[in-house]
């Protein structure tokens, strides 16, 4: 009820203005009217009193003699004469003691008035709108001889006062109405501009964001309108931006979702307590759960029971390192397992710490790994078999070499032995040709024995176990040179051997290399009055190369490839003896050391043999 009234009164600015103006008018006018009525009343009272005093004084003067002489008749006449005053209520003459001598009401003559003042001075007994009652003493020669009492009552005063009030009320009402009307007009003028803004606001609310308020002028309403418009503009701008942002966000969300769900790996996001926050569709698909089922599982259910015990450790490691990769085995809903490689990472998920596991199905890898393992095993098996076969082959070769050394040499010995026996025992029965033939038989036999020995040497170089030591080639070369000199002290050969040439390899085999190369140099400088044989070291393209150089017979470079072939010779046996196995032996040994050997030379201009050792 009260709220209804309040709404009615203060529901709009216009009404508030009208109510305000009306209230102000009402209060002001009421106070004004009340003040006027009050002053009017006081004026009336004052007038009444002065009239009463004037009347009583006049009567007292005129009734001195009558009072003093108790001329009742005369006094009554005087009193009655007073009745010309319409307002007069009563006029009384008493003696000193209050005995009524004359009264406008004749019936009361002779009565005593008890309410007379005691002292002989004028006294206002009553002063109100209904009655002004004044008593004044009658004095004769300063002797108090009696009292005059006059009562006046202006019957019209109250009426007049009521008139004043009534007219005041009327004025008040008129003023209120006028004020309200003015207020209404002004309010209308004022609020009309506000309503323009208001209607724009309502239209914007209804969805038409393009409208703007049009309030002219430079007052506050115009400012408000301009402010409101600029606010609308800003809002519209913000809405445009916001819409674009939302669109971007939605697109980004869609992209993320697309990526998340079409990723080639299963993705699980869980919080630090092992509750899933999100899983992608591949995760569900791979493990055979619906999205809701998987989301409700605890993290520990993901792994097989055997793997489950490591979950806590992994979380701890992940917390420490921020990123952690490991292999595990996931379990499908149906109990089957998936070997999985997990790349786990700490992430921020909606403001809380979470872990993202990107899980790759490595079943194929595992299968491939198993296949590789089996292949390796097979290969190893095959290597073992081959090695065994090789060992058998080696053994066969060794037994072959053994039987060559034994069985082929036996018959040769017989041929040589009996040829010699024939020459010695039956020499007299043979002519020179016969003896010559037998000598040739013996030479051939011995050469064959030499060849067999060389073949054995070659096979031994191939078979022997290699040591790897630091070898001083210079010392070796010096001792070989001394040995060669001893075989023919007549020859003038200068050996130039570089000091402290070191190499890494098998000492016996490297000795054989130098023995052959220096031996060749010695052999092919035979017949020179003076010869020079050099052993040294040189750097060829960053690699250490060793060389043996002589100024002997040399060779034609076009036969270079024949130099190292077994039993191939560039000279006749008569020119230079030999089986043609030496350089083949050298090549075998150098190759076994991972090096290469080659030669440079020209006919009659000497030869240089180079070799490198790969392990240096």
């Amino acid at each position: 009820m009260t709220s209804g009234i309040r709404l009615f009164l203060f529901g709009s600015l216009r009404r508030q203005l009208i109510v305000g103006v009306a209230a102000v008018h009402a209060v002001m006018m009421t106070l004004f009217i009340a003040d006027i009525a009050q002053k009017q009343k006081a004026a009336f009272l004052d007038y009444q009193l002065r009239q009463a005093i004037a009347l009583v004084s006049n009567l007292a003067t005129s009734s001195v003699n009558g009072t003093a002489s108790h001329d009742i008749m005369g006094l009554q006449e005087l009193v009655d004469a007073q009745t010309v005053y319409q307002e007069l209520k009563f006029a009384i003459v008493t003696d000193v003691n209050g005995l009524v001598l004359a009264h406008t009401d004749h019936a009361r003559v002779g009565q005593h008035l008890l309410d007379m003042p005691t002292d002989p001075i004028q006294k206002i007994i009553s002063n109100s709108l209904t009655l002004v009652d004044v008593a004044t003493p009658v004095l004769l020669m300063r002797h108090h001889v009696g009292w005059i009492r006059i009562g006046i009552a202006q019957t019209g005063v109250k009426q007049k006062l009521n008139d004043i009030s009534r007219k005041g009320l009327l004025f008040t009402l008129v003023t209120i109405l006028t004020g309200s009307l003015l207020a209404w007009v002004m309010g209308r003028q004022f609020t009309k501009r506000l309503y323009v803004i208001n209607s724009v606001m309502k239209e914007v609310q209804a969805g038409n964001t393009a409208v703007r308020s049009e309030v002219s002028g430079s007052d506050e309403a115009a400012d408000l309108s301009a402010g409101f418009n600029s606010m609308l503009d800003k809002l519209a701008q913000q809405i445009v931006e916001r819409t674009a942002a939302i669109k971007d966000l939605r697109e980004s969300e869609e992209k993320y979702r697309l990526l998340f769900d079409s990723a080639g790996d299963a993705i699980f996001i869980h919080d630090t307590d092992g509750r899933f926050l999100e899983v992608n569709s591949l995760a569900c698909e791979r493990l055979g759960y619906s999205h809701a089922e998987l989301m409700s599982l605890p993290l520990s259910k993901l792994d097989t029971p055997e793997q489950c015990q490591y979950v806590q450790d992994r979380v701890v490691r992940l917390m420490e390192q921020g990123h952690h990769m490991f292999e595990t085995v996931h379990q499908r809903k149906d109990g089957s397992t998936v070997p999985t490689e997990v790349s786990a990472r700490k992430i921020n998920w909606d403001g809380q710490l979470a872990m993202m596991n990107i899980c790759r199905d490595i079943s194929k890898w595992k299968l491939a790994e198993e296949e590789i393992r089996q292949l390796n095993n097979k290969l190893e098996q095959r290597v073992i078999e081959r090695t065994a076969q090789l060992e058998i082959a080696y053994q066969e070769m060794e037994s072959f070499a053994y039987s060559v050394s034994h069985d082929l040499r036996g018959p040769l010995r017989s041929i040589d032995g009996f040829s010699l026996a024939l020459l010695e025992d039956c020499g007299d029965k043979l002519d020179d040709d016969g003896k010559n033939y037998l000598r040739r038989v013996r030479t051939a036999t011995q050469r064959m024995a030499q060849l067999i020995d060389d073949i054995l040497k070659l096979s031994r170089v191939t078979r022997v176990n290699m040591a790897s030591e630091t070898v001083n080639l210079s010392t070796m070369a010096v001792s070989i040179a001394e040995e060669l000199r001893r075989t023919d002290q007549q020859r003038k050969v200068e050996f130039v051997i570089k000091d402290d040439v070191l190499a890494k390899g098998d000492p016996r085999l490297l000795m054989l290399v130098l023995d052959n190369l220096l031996g060749n140099a010695w052999k092919f400088t035979y017949g020179r009055a003076e010869a020079r044989i050099e052993f040294g070291i040189s750097n060829l393209d960053g690699k250490t190369a060793y060389f043996v150089r002589d100024d002997g017979a040399g060779f034609d470079m076009k036969y270079m490839d024949k130099l190292f072939t077994a039993f191939q010779r560039l000279h006749t046996e008569l020119e230079f003896p030999g089986t043609g196995i030496g350089l083949t032996l050298v090549q075998h040994i150098i190759h076994r050391h991972g090096g290469t050997v080659w030669a440079e030379g020209a006919v009659d201009q000497g030869a240089t043999f180079w070799f490198t050792l790969g392990n240096k």
Binding site: L412, R413, G417, F418, R442
Partner: protein, 145 residues
């Protein structure tokens, strides 16, 4: 000189003949007994097996032992001889075609006194036999008289 005899262990008849000739050429006239295989040697010296009856009272001044033999090979013969107290100190010279390092090593390991490779050149062979006879029959004092 009369009691000093040579035991030649050789399965090759040519080698036996050439050895005999070389000895003869070098005037080494001591008795030469030839065993054709390892088992025969052990029979002669230790009274083992088929040749138990052929054993002699005295021991040879030197045994010329080939390595490649039928039945029981040279190294095994050497090992058995060295095992037996009676023959443990008899001089044994390995006379063989092989100059394989492992053969030489294993022969010495089993207690041979010398190792000689038969040269193909018969002149050299003669020299070798001459030296052998001279050394083992003349110079060397045998462990048991």
């Amino acid at each position: 000189m009369k009691n000093k005899w040579i035991l030649l262990v050789e399965d090759n008849a040519d080698d036996e003949e050439l050895t005999r000739r070389a000895l003869k050429k070098n005037k080494i006239m001591n008795e030469l007994i030839v065993a054709r295989d390892g088992a025969e040697v052990l029979g002669y010296l230790l009274g083992d097996g088929d040749h138990a009856g052929h054993n002699k009272d005295s021991l040879p001044s030197v045994i010329l032992l080939d390595l490649k033999l039928p039945k029981i090979d040279g190294i095994e013969v050497l090992r058995r001889l060295r095992e037996n107290e009676k023959t443990a100190h008899v001089p044994v010279v390995i006379l063989t075609s092989s100059e394989e390092e492992q053969d030489i090593a294993i022969a010495y390991k089993n207690g041979c006194n010398s190792y000689i490779r038969k040269p193909v050149d018969f002149v050299q062979f003669n020299e070798a036999v001459q030296n052998l006879g001279l050394y083992w029959l003349m110079l060397n004092e045998p462990p048991v008289k």
